[in-house]
Amino acid sequence: MVVFIIRRTLMMIPVLLGATILCFVLVDVANDPVQDRIFEIQQSTGEPVPQSTIDALESAWYYDRSVPERYWIWLTGIGETNDDIGLIQGKWGPSIEGTAMNIGDEISARFWITLRLVLFATLASIGIAILSGVVSAVKQYSKTDYTLTFLGFLFLAMPIFWLGQLFKEGAVQLNKLLGTNLFQTYGSGTTGFRGNGWEVFVDALPYLIVPSLVLMLGSYAAISRYQRASMLEVMNSDYVRLARAKGVRNGTVMRRHALRTALIPVATFAPLALSGAMGGAIVTERIFGWRGLGVYSLDAINSGDTFAVMAYLLISGVVVLIGVLISDILYGVLDPRIRYE
């Protein structure tokens, strides 16, 4: 097992390197943030931007170098630098948002914001998916099965941006009807709220409900289908039939024999779903104004902030790869037929 983990970890390095090269080139050649910043300043001041400032921006953002040179400096920090770049030295590079915006600090702060949003949603979606999948399987081809299947496919088919807007509008109308402000539609907490951990959590609840619901419904459907199929397969297996033939009560058969085995695919899928959601909550974060990793990456891509995009890519890439690794390990632990050598 240890050898397996080491081997898989080492395999992550070329995968990540390849991803960074591809991403760096795509973002870098598609943008010229220096020119865009000059235009923005001209619009703001109504006056020309000094050449010395333009030169300083190019130098600060390493846009006075070629693309390969910029990538090399970003990766290694080796060469003439401003002592703010070099991944292997633990430096993320400068953000085009300015010296006040530290990429490492931003990524770190936003990681926890996104985790807060997706953790609850993913756990809830897995819970509901298991429940509805089992019920669907047990009551196969019943009205309940058809209803759950319909709902599953409905939420699966709805684009998340549309689902988000619908639920947002629903929350506004519900607030209006109840005369409350139970649901907040934008942000992750009251602006500037101060308090201890519990108070912050309670304050965040009105902001958490609707986006969590959207994320949850958006992702539960697929897991639910997995669970249903897995449960049906197990229920039709010989050892379940044998347990029933031995006179074991149906509830015990379902709980102890069928469900435990049928949970294996979902259990191995869960880390992957969580890690995927960490990098994929962009739309939900944007609609509900959560300043998480997804929004950060979107803004960075839109503004051509290459080093910020690279930081996001690395973090989300590592999280996904770790999710895959945990998933593989869990598979081996839960399924006695799988052995790693």
Binding site: N31, Q35, T53, G98, L166, G170, F183, T185, V295
Partner: protein, 577 residues
Amino acid sequence: MKRHHMAAVAAFACTTLALAGCGQGDVQSSGLSDCLTDPAGCNAGERIEGGEITWALDGSWSAWNQNTADGNNAYVSTALVGMWPYIGQFDPDGAFIVNEGIFAADPVLIKENPVTVEYALKPDANWGDGTKVTVDDFIYNWYARSGNQDLCKGCTPATTTYGSQVASITGEGSKVTVTYVDGYYSAEWMYEEVLSEPAHVAEAAGFDWKNDPEQMKDAEDYFSETVPTWSTGPFKIDQAVAGDFVQYVPNEDWAGDTKVTLEKVTFKVFDGLDNIVTALRNGEIDGASPAAVTSESITQLEGTADVSYAIAGGPNWEHVDINTRHAPLDDKVLRQAILTAIDVENIIARTYAYVQSDIQRKNSHLFRNGSEYFTDYLSATGQGSGDIEMARSILVNAGYEWDESDQLFTPEGEPVELDFRYSASKESRQVTAELAQANLAGLGIDIDIRAIPDADLGTVLAEGDFDLIAYGWSSDPLFVSSASQYWNSESQSNYGGLKDPELDDLIAQISGTLDYDEAAERANAAVKHVIGDAYVLPIVDTPVAVMVSDRLVNVRDNWASQQRATYNLAEWGVSGE
């Protein structure tokens, strides 16, 4: 109770699944209804003591120092309006109001050669920490914005138009005198921003900014990265996160005369107009003055109780530009014909009029319709009239020809095929391009419409990667440097590459007088000349909206200020009626 919940669930289901707006209010308050006739005094009212408000900003910022290239944008300018030492504000009537918290009177021109301006400080003008505003603060601002490496080594000022023109700054008591270099002769001397950050805070942070240019740069970086807790305004920042929010509490040391009543003001960044309108309808915010408005958002606001809104031309103006560097557009005659064939009124009717029914075509590049300096030189030329016959006759007289399929050919026999570019997310500009395409088809010109990713507009302009393009400029009542920025042959912002020595001379003359009226006359001469060059076709002052909870008074939009509705933040309050 049970039925109550059922009703709520039904409403939720109704809105979420049927995409219908269930049970919308129909109250349209008239708090801003008199803004058309009284833009500087509308929505006025008595205020009660206290109250907290949240105001949405539709853009963000990443640094706190407006002197620098990192920190200079319209949103940080708005976010810091409660505390920044601006020289003053133009009100919605275009009248200049000097900063009442710092200056005892308007700046005075005490000498014309070299230009020397005296500033009278209020005796108790201070930085919110008990430290008085002094001549050192003026000098700090000068160094920071000079672009002079001997004063600030490695600094990246957003502009050096003021700082590079200062020869010396002296002070005595509450009087500060700024002397400009010999070449400086601007009629807008009164409006120069002479203050930014407090020198004593830089010194307290350990920077010997006055004697060491490198430490001056370090001080500028410090101010970029540090949330400003100092204040010369009616409020001071209690807490803030760059690009997210600023939360103000009253500045007890403010030297202004206006009484502040609000206990807390929060500026919060929102992504997009839809989110702002939804939050306003949900009572999460009290108002906003976003840079864009759509007919959908107006419909939503109309159905919202206790919210007023007003729509008017904002600080940006839309225009169509021609790239004179690209043949055959280097031919002025062809440009004249193209601009004549474009039907501006039709463009307006099919775009901006949907959100602002009383919108008017813009007929001057430098002055708004209604300005005392406004003169319409454009209409008489036929540019923007959509008169295809007139446009064709211009081309016929210049030797242009058409083939049997009505394709236009230059006198040299080259077909006239052009592209028209616009920002991808701007629907109005897309429609402008499509209508222009239809207009120019009548001239036998093929137009290839190409969208620009929003973030790439600056790049496309700088590289001149367009034949025709629709985009916007920001503007304010100041005009002296605008003509130079737009049209001077050497200007970075002369994106279409117009080179006209005669126009350059006219532009140079604008900044050759200290008389504001005379400068405006010279600016109009430049406008008249550039119209003859058929280079830029103004469309409209872009409509913008202000949307405000009816519990607020003294809140109104202001096209003349970069800070829009927040220009008079000290006067804002909760209605006492």
